[in-house]
Subunit: 219 residues, 2 copies
């Protein structure tokens, strides 16, 4: 019984990490729609979205069955609860990627647009997401804390990009439509970083059994 | 033991509904910062945020203890899992209210600005949130379905507001800064409606044990 439980728990974690890798790919592909001006990549994002949506349902189902069949104790139960929450966050990361790809398709119809700090925002958000899942896999609270710290950098980049785009729109009204699109994309990336932060907080709760949410000040 | 469990389950639901009412109030107060141009109301939003954050931690804690102490069967377990997810959504609704209040404070420093369909967006989002929690309390799947349907109306209002604001910015560059602020607020309200939709989907899963997520097409 115990061995069976451990196998099921490993299976749950493995599926969640697979879902995490898919959402990372989706973000990278979605931003390439914009940077490489390649509409075909938006299709690749959509394809992965179906798979992510199926995983979303499957992982919740696995988690509830695990609780119902076995009677997990404190730390195992915290792992399963963390998996349920991380599952929701990853599904929403996938939604953000779809939004970026869709906005990207609009941008392709406009003249080339300066992206300001968006490429740097992608790097930060994608690395935060990757490391939050690595922290989950390794039960590494130090790495999770590091992810949480990096969210401030992402917020700073977003504010800077936002101000530069407002300035551009004010000085040249012909850029308004496409500047708005870049603002939307930078907000999508900020939200990906927020989801990575949520995941990192869930990892710390899972490992330490201590709730650190709302204990640090966010900008 | 059974009676004790039922009392704990009722307590969990009661705290969640209390949290829901607080977040509804926060949204209404935050929008009044903008409509009534009253900065003091932003303080009221912040006060309630602290309480919501405390409830967020408390409700997760109650839910995990319920699972660990009792061994809930299928439908009770689904209720507890739904509570954990609704808890996350409500906490994020609170965040959206804080964002609206903060953007509202910026808008107060600018000349009065036309709000287009924002007041209607508030009505739709607030009623969706209220009804999604009512559906949870009454285990009412018909009401939950109705909430899900209304999300299309909110998306339509957001797109319309968005297009009108872009047009305004293009015709009068002096409005760019404050038009951007109204766009951000309309996106916050759209996200509140998304959270209400998530809650409604969780209610349907809780009652029917059937996962309807990703089965309906959203615009």
């Amino acid at each position: 019984m115990k061995r069976h439980f451990d196998e099921d728990l490993d299976g749950l974690a493995a599926r969640l990490l697979h879902m995490g890798r898919l959402t990372e790919e989706m973000i990278q592909l979605a931003v390439r729609v914009v940077v490489e001006r390649d509409a075909a990549l938006a299709e690749e994002v959509k394809k992965r979205e179906s798979e992510v949506n199926e995983l979303h349902v499957e992982i919740d189902d696995r988690a509830l069955k695990l609780i119902a069949l076995h009677q997990p104790a404190a730390s195992d139960l915290r792992l399963i609860a963390a998996a349920i929450k991380i599952n929701s966050d990853l599904e929403r990361v996938g939604d953000q990627a779809v939004n970026i790809a869709e906005t990207g398709l609009f941008l392709l119809k406009e003249p080339t647009m300066k992206l300001f700090d968006v490429p740097r925002m992608v790097e930060v958000a994608a690395s935060m997401l990757k490391d939050s899942l690595e922290a989950f896999a390794r039960k590494d609270t130090a790495l999770a804390q590091d992810v949480i710290r990096r969210d401030d950098e992402e917020d700073r980049l977003k504010s800077q990009t936002f101000n530069e785009l407002i300035h551009l729109m004010q000085s040249d009204a012909s850029t308004i439509q496409r500047a708005m699109d870049v603002i939307l994309i930078s907000r999508n990336l900020e939200r990906v970083a927020d989801h990575a932060t949520n995941i990192a907080e869930d990892v710390i709760f899972m490992v330490l059994g201590k709730d650190i949410r709302h204990k640090h000040v966010s900008v």
